[in-house]
Structures are given as C-alpha cells and as structure tokens.
Amino acid sequence: MTGSILLLLLLAIPLIGAVATWFIRSTRLLHLITALAHTAVLIVALVLLSMLLTRNAPRAFGNLLVLDPLGGLVLLIVAVVGFTSALYSAGYLNHEVAHGAVKPNELRRYYALLHIFVFTMLLTSVSGNLGILWTAIAATTIASAPLVDFYGSREPLEAAWKYIVLTTAGSMIALFGFLVLYQAGVHVLGESYDFSFTALAGVASRLPAATALTAFLLVLVGFGAKAGLAPMHTWLPDAHSQAPSPICALLSGVELNCAMLGIFRVFSVTAPAAGLNHLRLALVLFGLFSLLVAVAFLVSQRDFKRLLAYSSIEHMGLIALGVGIGAPLAVFGAMLQMVNHALAKSLMFFTTGNLLLGFRTRAIAEVGGVVRVMPATAVLAVAGGLAIAGAPPFSLFISEFSIIAGAARSNQVFIAAMAALLLVVGFIAIVAPFNRMTFSTPVEGKAAAVAVNPIVLVPAYLSLAAVLVLGVWVPGPLHDLLSGAAALVAP
C-alpha cells in the first residue's frame, strides 16, 4: 500500500515541479524549487529501493507500475544523476545568464522541460506494462529534443532535428517489435491480456519461437538507435555535443540507460522461447561493432564534448556486450557498468561544462593550462578522464574488467581479446586530450578563462567521490540490487 503511494508520489513530484516552474518569475526561486524537487525524488527513490530490497516489490494499479531490481537500478541512476544535474544546472545557467548566452526568461522553459524529461525517465524505470514502457521511452526523446535545441542557433537545431527524427524512427521500429511481441502473447494468453512483463515472463517459454525472435530483433534495432548502438548512433555525437552541459549529463548518463532497459526487458521475456544463444549473439555483434566505431572516432576527435559522446557509445556497446556474453560475471559487470557510466559520464559533462564556461570553446586544441586557470576543474578533468577510460582505482575498471574476464572464463576468448584491445586504444584516445588540456601551456589569446562559481564544482566532486568509492567497495544493498538485475537479464 505504501509502496503504491510512493510510486505515484515519485511520478507526481517532477510533474508538480514542471507546473510550478511555469508560475515562478524569480531565477533564484527556480533554481531552488528544481533542486528541492530533485532532492525529494532522490529520497523517495531511495525509500522505494529499500522497500524493494527488504520487503516486497512496490507496485501500483496491478502490473501497471512495478519496481523490480532491473527497473530499480535504472531508477537509482535517474534519481542520482537527476539530482546532480539539477544542482549543476543552477550554477551553469547562472554563468550563462551572466555571460549573456542565455536570457533570464528562458530559464522557465529550461526547467519545465527538465522536469518533464526526468518524469519520462522515472516512468520508464517503474513501468510494469510494456506498452507504457514504450510510451515512456519514446517520450524521453520528445521531452529532451527542445532542450538539445535550447541555445537556439543553427547547430543545436540541426542536432535536435536529427535526434528527434532518427530516434523517433527507431522508437517506431521498436513499437513494431512490441506489437509482434503482443501477438506472440496472444497465442498463449488469449486475445486480450495484461501486456505486462510479469504476465509474459510466466509464459515466456511457451511463446512461438520465430515471433519472439522477430520481436526482439525489431526492439533491439529500434531502441538500439535510441541507446546509441552503432550503426544507428549517428545522431548521438551531435545531440550530446550541442545540448547544454547539464542536459548532456542526463542524455548520456541516463537516457541511454533507459533505452537499454527497454531492450533488456524484451530480452528477458523473449529469450526462453527464441533461444538464449541467438539473442546473445545479436547483442554481442551490436556491442562489438559499437566499440569498434566508437574507438575509431575517439582517436580522431578534436571536440571534447564529442569525445565524451563517442565514449558513451563505447560504454553502451560494452553493456550490450556484457549481457550478450551471458556469463554471470559479465552480466554483473554490465549492470555495474550502467551505474558507473551514469556517474562517470555525468561527472565528465559537468567538468567539460566548466571548461566551456571558462574557455568558451569545445575545441581541444584551443584549451590549455587548465591546471593554472581552474585548478579545481583540472583535478576533475584528469581524474574523470582516467575514470571514463577505465583506469583503476575507479569503478569503471571493475565493471569493464568483469565483462572481459567473464568472456575469457566462458571460453569466448576472441570476444575478450577484441574488447580488451579496443578498450586499450580507447583509453589512450580519451586520457591523452584531457591531460594535454590540463597541463599544456595556455593557448595565446585564450588564456583569459573566467573563474567559476563553486556551485558547479559540488555535483562534479560528488560524482567523482561516488566513482572512487564504488571502485574499491560496492555497498551491500547496491550489490543485492545489481545481482537481482543481473538475474533478470540472464534467465
């Protein structure tokens, strides 16, 4: 009972926040209300997760809203990165307003859309019904495309258009898959049934095999486009480099994971009938290809936000690969990678957001001497660069190592070798530019970087601390959540 009330409260808070921002004129109050709303979401999410781990899974309206470990993992990611991004937005936008890049009256639109965007992602994480899940994932694009276009010049518009057209087309291919999946269920459950994964999971092994396989492949290609899996990723570097930095943190760290959740939900209900090995092979192929494409573009990258975007494609490829490998260690690593990617990538978008505020350019070659001009951000750039590249003692090392070790131990040596090789090349391509920007001499005429408001440092340091702690110690409850989620995607 309390579970269902809390689930509704979780979804209501961002909606109330969105409505509230419409009536507020004061900039300071807008920042405050948003930060409070996201703190409240974080608290409610943590209470729900503790209920999930200690008592029954919270649910509301039958199977419509359900919190299970896999959804809980994504809920944790949405709530944490939503919170840090809301904090970061305040500092970042104040700078932008002071610099004249954003007009004060545009903040209301920004915050209203931010709340709706977070709402769609929260709904994704707690949907128990596959139809609602599809709607929520498709809605994440619709809510965030105007945010990608927020700066209102030509390049953001191009990025937003590409983003909305390609990911909506992807979502429709996925919808085709969901319709086919529904039809597969009709064979077993009768003409009108509850289209929830709880109901389908109960009869998963009796679904018609060919129909189940078709459904999964359609969803993999469709939501793969939204999750940034190559070769459907072409919109991603544009959207993730043109959006305001706090939005990039959410797009990259959270929204991609939401699309992955959609793929994994369908994976878990179609795998028993369609044959686990077929489905895993498809995930491995997309995963390896994404790694390959990402690393190829990382090596030649000159724009530091696009560098991070390609690193996201690399991470999504690894997550798909981990689940595709199927060994328990690799699947656990993939689940941990979802959390680590969200924390580390948001950390890096906050860091590059600070660089952008200080230097007013995204070109790697035009940024230099960060360590002298912005020492606090320099620490973040070096440590964060190492973290997203997967260096110990940061947590991405653990998850990436688990995925590769899982492959090697289950005799998938070729996959392990390929992934390890690509990760090493990617490592150099990510770490080198951040070190260069930090320690090189300041570029002529570009040295006049401005000091940043301490507020923009707090969320970044929080994320850095989290990635460091998770690198040496995964807390018990989080470990339970990760194992629960892994059990759902390795049936």
Partner: protein, 215 residues
Amino acid sequence: MEAFEYSLAGVVLLITFWLLIARRVRGAINGYAFQSIVLAAIAGATYLQSFRLHLLLLATSSLVIKGVVIPLVLRRQIRATVYDKRETHYYVGFPTALLIGMLLAIVGFVAANQLAITKDLLGQPVSGVAIAVVLIGFFIAVARSDAVMQLTGLLVAENGLLLLGLVLSAGLGLLIDFALLLDVLVGALVMGFLIARMNSTIMSTDTGELTRLRG
C-alpha cells in the same frame, strides 16, 4: 463487411503512394489527414464487428487527434511560404522513389505472410498493407530532404503501426492506446515547433542546409 475493410485498407495504401510522390507540403499534410480519417473508419468498422467499446473510443480519438488536430496545428505552425511550397526534394528522383515504394510494398506483403499472423478481426492482406505503409513511411522520412515531409513520413509510418495494431490484436488496451496517441500528438507538436524554428533560423525547411555537424 470484410470486403469493405479490405477496400478501405487499399485506400490507405493508395494514399501512402500518393504521399510518396506528393510535391507540395500542403498536399502532404492533407493526404495525412485523409489517411488518418480512413484509418479511423477501419477502426470503427472493427468496432461494429466486435462491439468492444475500446475500439469505438480509439476510432473517435484518432479521428479527432490525427485527422483534425495534428494537421490543423501543423498548418498553423508552418508558415505560408513553406505550406504553399511546390517543390520538395528527394535524395533520389521521383520515379526511383516510386519504384522503391513498390518494392517496399512487396516486401511488406511477403513479411506479413512470413510472420504467420493469426486471423483476428481483419485478415492477412490488411497486415500486408500495414507493414507496407510502415516501410514506405520510413522511406519518406529518410529520403526526403524537406523537414515537413520527413515528419509526414514518420506520421504515416505510425499510421501503419496503428493499422497493424488493429489487425493483430484490436489495439493493445485502452490505456496503452491512449498513451500512444498522446505520444504521437506531443511528438508531432514538438517536431512542428522545431520546423517553425528552422524556418526562422535558416529561412527554409530543407534539411539539406543543415549539414554543419560532422565527425
């Protein structure tokens, strides 16, 4: 009764082909509105067969939202200069586009046979039409360079999915169908907003002009 639905499905396919080669933005939007109305009629006809209230609601709401609201709002958001524009560009020529459309229609019918869909309210031929409409819609969305035409392509593909949903399962249930409709409505509005922004930023809706982001 079935013959009536089959001929309506045929009309849906014909409109799709007409949209494939439409040269004016005005025509494309009107064509989409007309196609949505025919689809609503098919949903209404399936209601008369099964008397499930949900289908009647689906028929009326898609008639209102897709047949009237979306076309009207797009008409308002897209300024007259774009709306009355005659020439819209393909990355391939018009005859090639038509040929590809025919191939996609054949693929649609073959795929419908392969999927071995059980006969529900409507039969196999309609699901062939539905898949063909989805494929041609996607083709319009990727092969046209005009933003309004790309949006129309996506909307047409969605119409195809609605038809497929009707054939396969008479919809997914009231709540889900409404959530989907809401998604389509808001999605079309946001894309319309971006098109209006395009028109004021680059004085055109030709996405061929938006090619600055690379690598």
